[in-house]
């Protein structure tokens, strides 16, 4: 599904190398987790994959289902099936959540040559997905993320993911700021989307989330590289001993 090879990324504005050769292969239907200390480049990886400005790829490649995505516009990557749940979802005053969702869903359908959803069908699907994520009518009416609590914002990200049905979902610290109940809602939302060949890259600091969303592979990222990969037990090791041991071992 997603193949990242020797990815090197620096900041566009300054001479700062952030990703220093990331390799990662994620098969269809699999869940991979990335853990790692703050500042190791996890969010950068997610931004570069989804096409944010400000980064320059100096070497390496990234393909989605064999297609090179690094030269595509963000919206083209989205239409190709990539989705990023933001670590810090953006507030957009004056644009209703519903309008935002409908615009996004229909833009992607249009890009794929599919017919736009009718207002009625759209509403039906929104209601259904919102209900399972405990997103109430008020949250749907309000401007995108404005006045939402941290947990509401994260649930809203998963709501968008559920509506857009991407093939490749990247979750950047979706668990941070969530209480136990919200964590359960979010995980259930993600698990409901598992299957059908959909792949997930879950960035997290905590084992907690991985108890709910069981990963097939866990990677440890440090200083712009994936320094160790293993099974779910690797996450437990981090939980119990922190990163120090692992980093020492690979140093």
């Amino acid at each position: 599904m997603l193949e990242i090879k020797n990815l090197h990324v620096k900041l566009e504005e300054e001479d700062k190398q952030i990703l220093k050769g990331v390799d990662l292969t994620l098969e269809a239907g699999k869940v991979h987790a990335i853990m790692g200390p703050n500042g190791s480049g996890k969010s950068t990886l997610s931004y570069v994959l989804s096409g944010r400005d400000g980064y320059e790829v100096t070497d390496g490649s990234a393909t989605l289902e064999g297609e090179d995505i690094l030269d595509l516009e963000p919206e083209e990557r989205a239409a190709a099936g990539l989705f990023l749940a933001f670590q810090y979802p953006v507030e957009i005053p004056g644009v209703g959540n519903m309008t935002f969702l409908r615009t996004a869903v229909n833009a992607q359908r249009k890009a794929r040559g599919e017919e736009e959803l009718s207002a009625g069908d759209f509403l039906k699907i929104v209601r259904e997905k919102a209900k399972s994520l405990k997103i109430n009518a008020d949250m749907l009416k309000r401007p995108v993320n404005v006045g939402f609590s941290g947990g509401e914002k994260k649930r809203n990200e998963i709501m968008q993911m559920a509506m857009l049905e991407p093939k490749m979902c990247i979750l950047d610290e979706t668990d941070s700021g969530l209480d136990v109940d919200a964590m359960k809602l979010v995980s259930d939302g993600v698990n409901a989307l598992r299957g059908e060949g959909r792949s997930f890259l879950v960035i997290t600091h905590y084992q907690r989330l991985l108890d709910h969303i069981k990963p097939d592979v866990v990677h440890i990222m440090a200083d712009g590289r994936i320094v160790k990969s293993g099974g779910p037990e690797l996450a437990l090791e981090v939980e119990n001993n922190g990163y120090a041991d692992i980093l020492e071992e690979v140093a």
Binding site: P74, F86, Q108
Partner: protein
């Protein structure tokens, strides 16, 4: 005191080309008084402090500069709204295109007719708010209007007016120079909505004086026509009684030069005045909102929300003042003026002012100028919305606070679709 020579010459030149319309006693007096105000003040010049950011030369000139007609097949604004239509073509009343001027809860007459009478209630309002509004800042273009206006509506709302009164201003001659003057009296407890739409003329000078009695409500939504080369100088006056409501919203898309002045006096306690505007300019576009709100009563609220979206060298101007008189305690005054600059060529000039003589008031003002928020743009694009539509969505997001000031949902939707169409056309 003698006027500066240049001002004197420009004023003489303009006045020499005009004649006061034939009038009955009351209007003749009002017009002659107005004319003497004009001669005393002189017409505005680029040297006047109040016209520092907007050059009045083309508004003052003898002849209206030509303005091409804008062909478009768009569905007329407010088309789906049950309304009483009053049509002016290049400033001339079009009886055939207009509805019968009878409507429950209101008396509607035409200035061209009532000005022929020797007495009419309009004498208590026509030119009266304009005269009051000459202090502390002179507004000679409004006095010029009072002197020479050829027509307009004279409206007296006595109750809940059955439907909106819609003024439709068509522009059919490339050289038309229209001067219209409306007076509106909202009697105690009455409620009226006035809509305006259209470019009106190559050059348009319009005054609307609105007197809202205690517990009266005046709602106003206007869309200034899309003709790229038209020029307009408008004055909207409001005098507010106790517990009265005055709400006005203006959409301006295109137009070479627009100066909209709003002059409001809150004279009765617990009154509420909201004025808002959304302006969109692309290229040769100069748009000026000049607002002066005087609080002279207790516990009143005023709100100014002005937003401008500018690109390709368009210029936006905002001069807004809140004056709180010593007795106007518990005043709640809010003013925000913002521009969204879609490129580096465009310009926003703002002069927000507060002058407060009462001690127990809450007044705030803010003015900003900024570009599209890159984080928000990326967020939208990452959800699959292409850059063009995503930018449009952010433009609408920027304008939302102003559009929210339109109370009637159907009218707000209409304005919104006009905005969306404007944005979509620019994307091609």
């Amino acid at each position: 005191m003698a006027l500066p020579a240049q001002k004197q010459d420009a004023t003489d030149a303009r006045l020499a080309s005009m004649t006061l319309p034939e009038s009955g006693v009351w209007a003749k007096t009002a017009r002659e008084d107005a004319l003497s105000r004009v001669t005393a003040m002189g017409l505005p010049s680029a040297r006047d402090e109040y016209w520092k950011y907007t050059n009045p030369a083309s508004l003052v000139a003898r002849e209206a500069p030509e303005a091409a007609l804008h062909e478009n097949d768009a569905v007329p604004l407010y088309d789906g709204i049950d309304r009483l239509k009053v049509v002016f073509v290049d400033g001339v009343f079009d009886a055939e295109a207009s509805d019968d001027l009878t409507l429950e809860g209101v008396e509607i007459e035409r200035l061209a007719e009532v000005s022929q009478m020797d007495i009419h209630w309009a004498k208590d309002l026509y030119g009266v708010l304009e005269t009051r509004g000459q202090k502390p800042v002179e507004r000679p273009m409004a006095a010029l209007n009072t002197a020479y206006a050829t027509d307009g509506l004279v409206i007296r709302a006595t109750g809940q007016v059955a439907k909106p009164i819609a003024l439709i201003y068509r522009h059919e001659s490339t050289t038309s120079d229209a001067i219209l003057h409306h007076v509106i009296r909202v009697e105690e407890g009455a409620d009226v909505t006035v809509l305006e739409n259209g470019p009106a003329a190559a050059r348009f000078n319009k005054v609307m004086e609105v007197d809202v009695a205690d517990k009266g409500a005046f709602h106003h939504v206007r869309a200034q026509g899309r003709d790229h080369e038209r020029r307009a100088n408008t004055h909207l006056y409001g005098r507010l009684g106790t517990e009265s409501v005055f709400k006005s919203f203006t959409l301006t898309a295109n137009g070479r030069l627009t100066r909209n002045e709003v002059v409001l006096e809150l004279l009765g306690d617990d009154a509420q005045a909201h004025v808002a505007g959304a302006a969109l300019g692309d290229g040769d576009f100069h748009h000026d909102d000049t607002v002066f709100i005087t609080h002279d009563a207790v516990n009143c609220e005023s709100r100014q929300v002005f937003k401008k979206v500018l690109r390709n060298g368009a210029v936006g101007v905002f001069q807004g003042k809140i004056l709180v008189q010593p007795d106007a305690q518990k005043t709640d005054g809010y003013q925000i003026s913002q521009s969204l600059l879609l490129d580096d060529d465009s310009q926003f000039l703002a002069k927000p002012e507060l002058e407060i003589y009462a001690d127990d008031v809450a007044c705030s003002h803010g003015s900003t100028s900024g570009a599209i928020d890159e984080d928000a743009l990326f967020y939208l694009r990452s959800r699959g919305v292409p850059e063009g539509p995503a930018t449009d969505l952010l433009v609408l997001s920027f304008l939302a606070e102003a559009i929210d000031e339109i109370e009637d949902e159907a009218i707000a939707d209409d304005i919104l679709s006009r905005l969306e169409a404007w944005l979509a056309r620019r994307r091609g």
